[in-house]
């Protein structure tokens, strides 16, 4: 149960961080039109195709005591980053980045451009337009982004294994825990955890699809 609690905490932190940093990136991708945009788009989508071990490996190298991130962290906090909860958050943020950004981009792009024009003509600058028009109209996208990055982080295995190791209460997440138990032939215990994870993942996806199918919405469509 400790592992499950740890996974939940990790997933929640990652989802929150991703919403904060995902929004400006998504805004840039949805509304700006510069020549190098495809580079940023590819970079954001990279974790989708990269094996988690590759991402985890580079994250580990960067966080190590001789890596740039590791050095910076030691200078700031006096201890290393690898095999800590913070390190895990950092790697997971990278790993789940596209799961937050892409739903946000899609929903920002879905907002009628004329509404943005209307807002501008009525005297609102771009930050006011974002807060009062884009964001409220992208609410399903925001929910999707949060839920997907939460679920994706909850289920990650490769990255955690590389960066986090297997420290009980610090970095042993639920997927690692299941793996451990299978290795030590505790099938009953493994099954119990796996079922919980399955149930959570399924309900989370139900939320995503329900929100996007507009089964219920905060306001009537159109």
């Amino acid at each position: 149960m400790e592992a499950l609690w740890l996974s939940m905490k990790l997933a929640a932190c990652v989802a929150a961080i991703l919403l904060v940093i995902g929004m400006p990136v998504a805004y840039l991708l949805a509304y700006s039109n510069w020549r190098g945009k495809f580079l940023l788009e590819s970079l954001v989508a990279l974790p989708l195709v990269l094996p988690p071990t590759v991402l985890g490996f580079y994250a580990l190298v960067a966080m190590g005591p001789r890596g740039p991130l590791g050095k910076l962290w030691i200078a700031l906090f006096g201890h290393g980053l690898a095999f800590t909860f913070s390190g895990l958050i950092l790697a997971s943020v990278l790993y789940s980045f596209p799961f937050a950004v892409q739903p946000l981009v899609a929903s920002f792009e879905g907002v009628d451009r004329r509404l943005l024009d209307a807002s501008a003509v009525l005297g609102a600058g771009s930050s006011r337009t974002f807060c009062r028009v884009i964001l409220p109209l992208s609410l399903p996208g925001v929910v999707t982004a949060a839920v997907l990055s939460f679920a994706h982080t909850l289920g990650e295995f490769g990255v955690v294994l590389m960066v986090g190791g297997n420290l009980a209460g610090v970095t042993r997440t639920v997927s690692i825990d299941i793996y451990d138990r299978v290795q030590s032939l505790e099938y009953g215990e493994a099954n119990r955890m796996a079922l919980v994870l399955l149930a959570i993942s399924f309900s989370v996806l139900c939320v995503v699809y329900a929100v996007n199918r507009r089964v219920w919405t905060p306001w009537p469509a159109k």
Partner: protein, 371 residues
């Protein structure tokens, strides 16, 4: 912020090139002036009307030009001035209205007043909702409001900010004539006190007739004529404009003789033997002219009519009948082909079928000379 507004005149000289794929580039190159009151921008779709409005509002950036409202320069490519849209104090009602779907009518209307004190904002919103007769709908969201009332709310939202220029992009399409007239009356009443220039884009002939103060006709990115509606529209100088104004029949003709005393002339249509009488125009015998006739202005009879004041009766045969909505489009061969609009009821009552012999009746003044 001006509580009292001096008579503002809007002048805009705009050149903007829009490059499409291949040869489909388009150049808007116009110079217009709008004094207080309604100025209609009229022309077929693709003439550049919306680009012109977007440029005035600051939503599109001209390649070159100068836009001035009263004494304020909004854009000047020569001096590098480009006031951003939120600071232009132009109001813009879009064709789609663009009401914020997640805000109530009242919140939509007060959207542009966020910098005002609560008290002042409430007072202004109250007044404008009353002026446009939508105070009962304040709590409703746009999705719960009917077409005409949405248009009223969109107008209220724009006007409550006390703009110095109002831009209307076909804001009343889809409304019936009565409702349109009522909204236009409210708009005029509002503007009687404010006296700002209103640019009103439409491609509907009826709206021009209903609003008509001054018309600027645009075609293919250029101003083709400007003046009173009668001058601009009833003697369409460009064929495309004539089509936009609802002239389905545009026929080339040769002038036979002028009868100045009667104010008419006789022309022969195309290469046919078909002769009709049309209003006198700037032409001499032997000149080629274009005659435009609306399909709805032609009468169709199944027997040779007589005892009519109409001067032009031609016989021919129906080539085809095509139902479109509640209207039937008949093509009639009188050596030249005419398009005639009839009702489904008339088709049944007269037993019209393809191949049937019919007579077309045309009043002289339903024939318009083009160029």
């Amino acid at each position: 912020m001006a509580g009292e507004v001096k008579a503002t005149i809007l002048t805009a000289r705009i050149r903007k090139e829009r490059r499409g794929a291949g040869a489909s580039s388009f150049i808007l190159d116009v110079s217009i002036e709008a004094s207080p009151g309604i100025t209609i921008l009229f022309g077929p779709s693709g003439a550049g009307k919306s680009t012109l409005l977007d440029s005035v509002a600051g939503l599109a950036r001209p390649d070159e030009g100068r836009i001035v409202a009263g004494s304020d320069v909004l854009f000047d490519s020569g001096r590098g001035i480009d006031v951003p849209a939120p600071k232009r104090r132009t109001a813009y009602v879009f064709q789609t209205l663009a009401l914020f779907p997640h805000l109530s009518a009242e919140e939509n209307v007060s959207y542009g007043l966020m910098d005002l004190q609560e008290e002042e904002r409430r007072k202004r919103v109250e007044a404008i909702l009353k002026a446009f007769r939508v105070e009962k709908l304040r709590r409703q969201r746009p999705g719960e409001i009917s077409g005409g009332e949405k248009q009223r709310i969109a107008l209220a939202r724009s006007l409550v900010t006390e703009p110095r220029v109002l831009l209307l992009d076909e804001p009343l399409t889809g409304l019936d004539a009565e409702l349109k007239a009522a909204i236009v009356d409210d708009l005029r009443a509002w503007n009687a006190a404010k006296g700002i220039p209103i640019l009103y884009v439409t491609h509907s002939r009826e709206e021009v007739d209903a609003l008509g103060e001054r018309v600027i006709a645009l075609d293919n990115g250029r101003v083709v004529s400007a003046g009173a509606p009668m001058d601009v529209l009833d003697a369409p100088r460009r064929k495309k404009l004539a089509q936009a104004a609802g002239f389905e029949n545009i026929l080339s003709a040769t002038v036979l003789d002028l009868r100045e005393a009667d104010g008419v002339m006789r022309v022969r249509l195309g290469e046919s033997a078909c002769e009709i009488e049309v209003p006198l125009g700037y032409a001499a015998a032997g000149n080629r002219v274009q005659v435009a006739v609306r399909a709805g202005d032609i009468l169709l009879a199944t027997e040779r009519p007589h005892g009519l004041s109409a001067r032009n009766v031609m016989d021919g045969r129906i080539i085809s009948l095509e139902q479109r909505g509640t209207m039937v489009i008949a093509r009639v061969d009188c050596e030249v082909i005419f398009v005639v609009h009839v009702t489904p009821g008339a088709v049944r009552a007269l037993e019209l079928t393809a191949g049937r012999r019919v007579w077309l009746v045309l009043k002289t003044h339903s024939c318009h000379l083009v160029e």
